[in-house]
Amino acid sequence: MRPEDILVPTPSGVCCKPGGFHIDPTRPVKKALITHGHSDHARAGNGAVLATQETLDIMRLRYGDNFAGTTQAVSYGETVKLDGATVSFHPAGHVLGSAQIRVECGGLRVVASGDYKDVADPTCASFELIPCDVFITEATFGLPVFRHHDAEGETAKLLRSIELFPERAHLVGAYSLGKAQRVMAMLRAAGHDRPIYIHGAMETITRYYESRAINLGQVELVRGANKAELGGHIIVCPPTAMSDLWSRRFPEPVTAFASGWMRVRARARQHGVTLPLVISDHADWDGLTSTISATGASEIWVTHGQEDALVYWCQTKGLKARPLDIVGYGDEDDAGAQAEAEA
């Protein structure tokens, strides 16, 4: 059996014919397996949805109770038989509930990793390496200039800035699902014990994280506070809010942005950021290449991001590699702003 007999890239996402399902479809399908809750991967309107409990919960919070015909929660490591294929979900380390999906059919093992990162994150299960024959990897940061370094150094930078500018509000742009909660948890780990304020758009997801026993300390809604009095405080908000009318009432805001894109100066400047924080929920170049090698896969499919460099690298290592041209990941909404924010 060839890998293409198990999984076929189609314009609506990766399709598994023998199993009768799609993974992260970009258009409604009969049966969908969803890797994680970010809106470019998890969309409403599918017939049946299989995902981790957390991903299902997140989809319900975002799209309402009728986001799918039927749902089935799958635990990490649990094996599910779908027609001619056997599938299982494994931690991807990207956000709460995120999973890689392993598909086995006729002795051939394919892993669709979704989005993943191979570094510690206090708000989700750690990435698990799954040996396979074909590995489908993302390539958001698939260029050797993306080296994320340790995220703790970045939160320390933020805390130093608060010491130096105690009268200024520190706005931290972070994607509502995952990044925002990770930044808050990291700040707590670094000993920051003042209340952290959040933008209303991330309230539901943040409260959900807290309900899953993730301790974020005292988190207040900025809506209920007097913005002018938030000097020396951290306010976490969606990146788009930072440059919007909303940010105007804070005292001399320092604008920080927690994202892997902040590694490149031109990107940081384009966002008008004064304090770029290189904190990414995607694997960096070293993470991507070491993971690819470690899976033992002899064939690599590369999706969304900087495919060229990663495909080239695989080939120099004697691996069969090809880009998958699936439209729809990382380029929905506001000219990519959201996709960048998720990074």
């Binding site: 260029l143 050797p144 440059s243 009318l245 490149v264 031109a266 400047r269 384009q270 008008g272 690298w313």
Partner: protein, 558 residues
Amino acid sequence: MNRFAELLDRLAYEPGRNAKLRLITDYLRGTPDPERGWALAALTGALGFKHAKAGMIRGLIAERTDPALFALSYDYVGDLSETVALMWPADPTQKSKSAPTLSDVVQTLSTLGKAQLPAQIARWLDGLDETGRWALLKLVTGALRIGVSARLAKTAVASLGNRESDEIEILWPGLTPPYLDLFAWLEGRANKPSTRDPAPFRPPMLAHAAEEPDLTALTAADYLAEWKWDGIRVQAVAGYDEHGELVARLYSRTGEEISRTFPDLLAALRLPCAIDGELLIMRETRVQSFNVLQQRLNRKSVTAKLMAEFPAHLRAYDLLAEGEEDLRDRPFSDRREQLQALITRLNDPRIDISPLVPFKTWNDLTAARADPSSAGAGADAEAVEGVMVKRRDAAYVPGRPKGSWWKWKRDPMVIDAVLMYAQRGHGKRSSYYSDYTFGVWSKGENGEELVPVGKAYFGFTDEELIQIDRFVRRNTVDRFGPVREVVHEPKSGLVLEVAFEALQRSTRHKSGIAMRFPRISRLRWDKPPAEADRLETLENMLTQREHATMPANGGGNV
């Protein structure tokens, strides 16, 4: 080096002056000698080592990375130092242990032979992290562009000892990196370092911008007026060193030494003195426009041909010192008399005194400002930017003291243009669309179309900014990254009255014309875009100006 790199990193993103000051002061306070001294030298441009070439840096990375991956990366990042800093394959286990100090780097660079340079830089890069490598590469290639002036760095160091930056400025020419004596004095551990500089820079006195009502409240008889020339404000200083040799220097308004750019003028400074004046280009006794001066400034090497074609001239406003005598506490009228006497003794065609504008009442001065050519400026009127009004009894006080000097600029040229694109500003304005590209009508391939003629990001009030911002948000027709295209049709769009000081030809602009100092002077909500100005209007303004400044044309005033 890591701490210095972190400082550079923050400074490069921070738009606010006060925030920058705070970052630098915090660094200087928390960093030991001599490290901080070398950092201060780097920020003030006082480091003297020979810079590494980009080709060498390329060579280093080529030995260590795959050429195809480097090409893709460089293409994405767009900056060589940054690409190399990020791609450098460092061994994470040996970091921090072998990170060089800034002192190591600076001292090694000043003694190292060219042949050993690549290996040394590679060793340093191995020991640094991404930001450290970026800072090191910027430093060794001499491309440390982080938006900090020497003046700002001096202000920061002054605040360590609660001193004024002017005090540092006076000491500065006598100091050398790493400035141990300076820090010791500022921290109360030693006496003030002595300055033995024969030709020091003295911080300049600046004027407040005046409007007519500001002046009419004053007594005309207490003031003198002179032309404000459109050149570069400079300080020309000469003095005897310990061997009795006369040392002459030319400084910009911010204290940067520009002697090497104007050797022709320096030769004329044959007496010990400190003159505050305007640097101009003079051809056959006619002052040339700023555009002409700009052409000389744009050339890298100062050749005999350039100096002959663009002869530098000093038009003196004030005398700060003569011989050993400091005149700054004396009244302006006295200083001016002494300046006149000095210039007579110098007797050099390259240096003259800026003439007084005679006036009895403010109305006289209003008339002179409106028509400088008939008020004494004659054929040079084109180079007059306005009038300076100075209190007769005012001492020369560094900075911008209240009530002593006023600058009253001529009315600018204005056109009505149409807003085409808007971009968000920086710092406090980061949430507002405050940078505007505007255009005027022209006949194009597809009929009437707007061509961009300039960009402006100030001139409007806070209230107007909110109105334009709202207009931009509601009338966006397209987006290009951070730039919004705003509706600009004959019947819908926003007309901006744009004021500017001068026009010049430019090959960098699609319209072929560049504006000097453009700003938004009024919002014309009442005017439909179809009635905005045309490109021909600007071209006419430009040709008239060009005729006016050509000697053969015999002069006249536009």
